[in-house]
Subunit: 347 residues, 4 copies
């Protein structure tokens, strides 16, 4: 039984880690960490686990936790983990970080986009970027620190990867128009996230400045072995869960459906969690809701010689907690889908 | 032109006062009061009035405002107005208070239910309870202070008034099960009112302790000339606007549809804003959305000799800002519907 | 492995049976029945099971199906099963009926409320009313036909049962004010159920005439051993899933919290799926979403000597498919919670 | 008083025409046309106008109507008006068509994208494309037939017009990613538009094949005096009203904010209904809800030398009924904003 500690267990990603791990055969949560609710019963905050979780919330003391757990999930604000991580912690326990602190290899890019000084850049080099389908071979039993990818990033990369990797598009022409449910905005009490401010509305936000931009650029840059610049525009949608990416790019050559389909199948045919949909079927967020699946597809436009690539996932599962558990499974040599076989709840 | 000041103009009821008064022929807003946004452009907070309202927010200095305005609307937290009201203010300007401070005649009941000490009980006696359809004759050009009724209260009373007034039901058997949109919870930044906490959920709250209970009891008590005790249960519904009341009571005698219908028509036939629906048609909140209308109806149950009475209104219009404007119109001798003829927006 | 057939697999309850049974260790779906989608790929209708369910939809030929399955779930319109059920089918397979056809013992009451002639009343007598927590001992390996309770009925009965059974309330004073998500309205293409007709609205419907009324009355009547008459008012709420019941009744005596709590604990303490919440905590539908749990609680009003009892469940799980699977588990001697241990998805 | 007839008055755009025209000083609705509800009371279908509209629905007999009305609005399915329009009708009354029948000048393009044979192409030539802010000078007292622009088209064109007209972007690089509320899907009873199919979901649809594509291309082509090809991708959002367009294009030169702002101001500074927002403020659909306003803005990306242009409007007002009334006002020499001064309802 893997002993698990969660820092930030009372946020949306944290709660989702709890929901998934409670259904995981080989994991046991030993630490429900929280800054706001220390000593309160976890089930009094998230009453869905009433009569299921008897624990009370503990502090965010990472060092003590590291002695009690085999693995620690940090579902914390940007900069938190970078501020407290040290060798002791990493010697005691594996760390899977759901924040952005160790995702970007070039610390100056991190500091520029996040407007935060990085306190422990020395750990960036060894952190593995845990996008399981792409980086599976880099996640091993020896991995101490996983940088769990961002929600928009996971959707964007998995949607575009075969096109970039196979050289079918000009990567510098990529435009990612993304739409996210409101759990993506976090559980902090801000007027902008009140029900009546989000409901019956759609808006773009963080236009040209959203922090997932350099993360997408870095990872897709690896796929085509060059520095690339893209446009990424997130939108807030009045729904709880789900991200839909609609991505546009110029086709490099005059490719046909079968060629592009073959590229997608090459990378995803054997992947349980990435489903390439039938021709002309568009991904919808509801069909992956509550699950670790990502649905992707594409359409080719002969009129403009561009591709429209689309991807949908659940931002708190495959975009956060689910992928984190998937990383844990790989790191501990378990079946990759253990605890992650929930059928999507489509309504 | 009536000069209007609004304290609390950046809350939901405040914004709705602005929306309605901008469409009022004889009123002009001279003071956009706010505690949180002083010196900020009002249209930068509520961007719907971009290029329409050039004003910046002012303070909540009621005394200064009273010298510049003919009438002041206070859309403020409970206890605020009671804490600052004085003779000067009332001498300078009429006050229409959207809070509960002067609604309840017995100050001990106010203090018991609101858990607030009332600082200026001396003004309670002269405050007029501004439920226009019931108390129209008490609202006059000499009225200085109107206690604008609560949203749940307005719905509950208008739904039940003919039954109580005509002695058709046992008033002590009344049960009011009310459902409200989330603007009713206010614009404060609380986790409980975040989009993802309210969406896809329904819950009761304030069960047996909600502060509108004594207000309903007092007003319906006047209608039947006795002290009554009722049950009032509010629920939070994932929608922005609207209150639906479903009320139950024991019929005193074996009355038929025509008798009860005649009672409703007696009080509402000539009221523009109260619509008694056709037999068997149930009120729905969407059909009054954005308007000052209240839709009411009832059904008689021979099996149990009870009545089910139903009423729907828009909580921020007839339940707050609209009724406040209606009160202003009466106080200033204007047509009662001036600025209030918006057709409901049913989707 | 239990071979399962589903008639009506492309409605909301049908899909939910699929979702749950795919996660059930001892069941295998061999027949995806549908009237509208015969020969279409099931995963092309409910794309959440893309790459999971390869089957195409079959007809609603119950007799043929009965030869291929051990148990048949009928998630069909009222009157359908009563029109086709025969001895052969019941000899071949167990039947769990999610419609109302065999729920009400007095056929004349069924015909009066449903306005349908019952074609096979001879099977009513032996049908077991499958409210597991109450009727568990009547559901046995020999049971051939289970009448799976209605969604509103399950919520109402489980909310009120301890009060009625222990004689704490006057059962003829019961008023059930229920609020349901829109899956309860079914997947038929009606204007009234379009997104823009349901969204941003709440309404009562079927006031005093809803068909779940006599079902609640019959079952609660058994609990107090008398014929009772209640008021039941359903409302449509803009959300997908969930039913909240707020029920009111006159207390028979001057009971206190501990007495009533003891009554609830007596019946539910050992029930996995019924959770009696802590004092003053109100059930919310989101905390049972996607799960087989029912959350109940109550508050006592000394002012009026009444009780407010509340219950919440997921109408397509415990209110339909989940309870049906629970019945199957009991009938086949499996652990009652097999396939039903999903943690509620609270956002 | 202008006598107005509406064909299709029981759809969403039709109802909105009713809502707006009831608040119009110089117009009177004399004909509530409907195919599905002939002889039914209009207020029994749209109960928001209970006690306001006493009329019953009439047929869709355009010829008879043309003798009774000064102007006819047709809010009808594609192909309907083209199938029945004739010289008599146009001699009797002005026609403002909310369908696409006379929007596209090249009938072969219409037939290719709409898959409908055009029955009366002879009227296309004289039909005026009623995008008021762009084509105001073509809409005159002599205009007999106005092709009221599509909702997506209006948003897309007004968002991009200054950029295209002033030659600041490569028009063939335009990508329009649009998001629409569900009234845009119409009031027909389709499973795909049921509440539970739309709620908690976002999806693209009509990818590369949506019929508004050639309409945008034609109109923007006029602005730059060339044939252009764009990509247009609509998405369905779980909300009732509103369209948000996020458009991308390559900048032709290295322009700065002030240059582009000047272009927007050149065309919109004096337009009441088009609001160019302050720098960095993104349009949101809620801020134009229920009104005839369009909010637009843009951001320049130095990294990729592209522009992100954004626009928001209410699809049933400025995207349909509101613009139709605006066209009527111009055609009849009334103030262009008569009946269209509603303040947006931002929650």
């Amino acid at each position: 039984m893997i002993k698990v500690g969660i820092i930030g267990s009372t946020g949306y990603a944290g709660e989702e880690l709890v929901r998934l791990l409670l259904q995981h055969k080989d994991a046991e949560i030993v630490w429900y960490g929280s800054r706001s609710y220390v000593d309160e019963k976890y089930a009094s905050i998230f009453k869905n686990v009433c009569e299921i979780v008897p624990d009370v919330c503990k502090s965010d003391d990472l060092e003590t936790l590291s002695k009690e757990a085999d693995v620690i999930f940090t579902a914390t604000p940007q900069g938190y983990l970078a501020g407290v991580l040290n060798d002791n912690i990493l010697a005691n326990a594996k760390v899977i970080d759901l924040s952005a602190d160790y995702r970007i290899k070039d610390v100056s890019i991190y500091e520029e986009w996040y407007k935060i000084e990085h306190k422990t850049p020395q750990y960036i080099k060894d952190a593995v970027y845990g996008l399981c389908e792409i980086n599976r071979d880099k996640i091993t039993k020896d991995t101490r620190l996983v940088a769990n990818p961002g929600c928009y990033t996971t959707t964007s990369i998995l949607t575009l990867y075969p096109l970039v990797k196979e050289g079918l598009i000009d990567p510098n022409s990529i435009i990612v128009d993304a739409k996210s449910g409101t759990t993506g905005a976090g559980r902090g009490s801000k007027v902008a996230n009140l029900y009546c401010e989000v409901n019956e509305n759609i808006k773009a936000y963080g236009v040209l400045t959203h922090r997932h931009t350099p993360e997408i650029e870095e990872q897709l840059g690896y796929a085509c072995d060059s520095d690339i610049k893209i446009i990424f525009t997130p939108h807030l949608v009045p729904m709880n869960r789900g991200i839909l990416v609609t991505a546009y790019a110029n086709l490099k050559n005059d490719v046909d459906y079968d060629t592009v389909k073959a590229a997608y199948d090459k990378y995803y045919k054997d992947e349980q969690f990435v489903r390439v949909l039938d021709k002309d079927v568009c991904p919808e967020t509801r069909y992956v809701q509550g699950s670790n699946y990502v649905d992707v597809n594409f359409k080719l436009d002969k009129r403009t010689n561009r591709v429209v690539a689309m991807g949908a996932l659940d931002n708190v599962v495959k975009g956060a907690a689910g992928q984190a558990v998937q990383n844990m499974n790989i790191m501990f040599g378990l079946p990759e889908n253990e605890g992650l076989n929930q059928i999507p709840m489509c309504f």
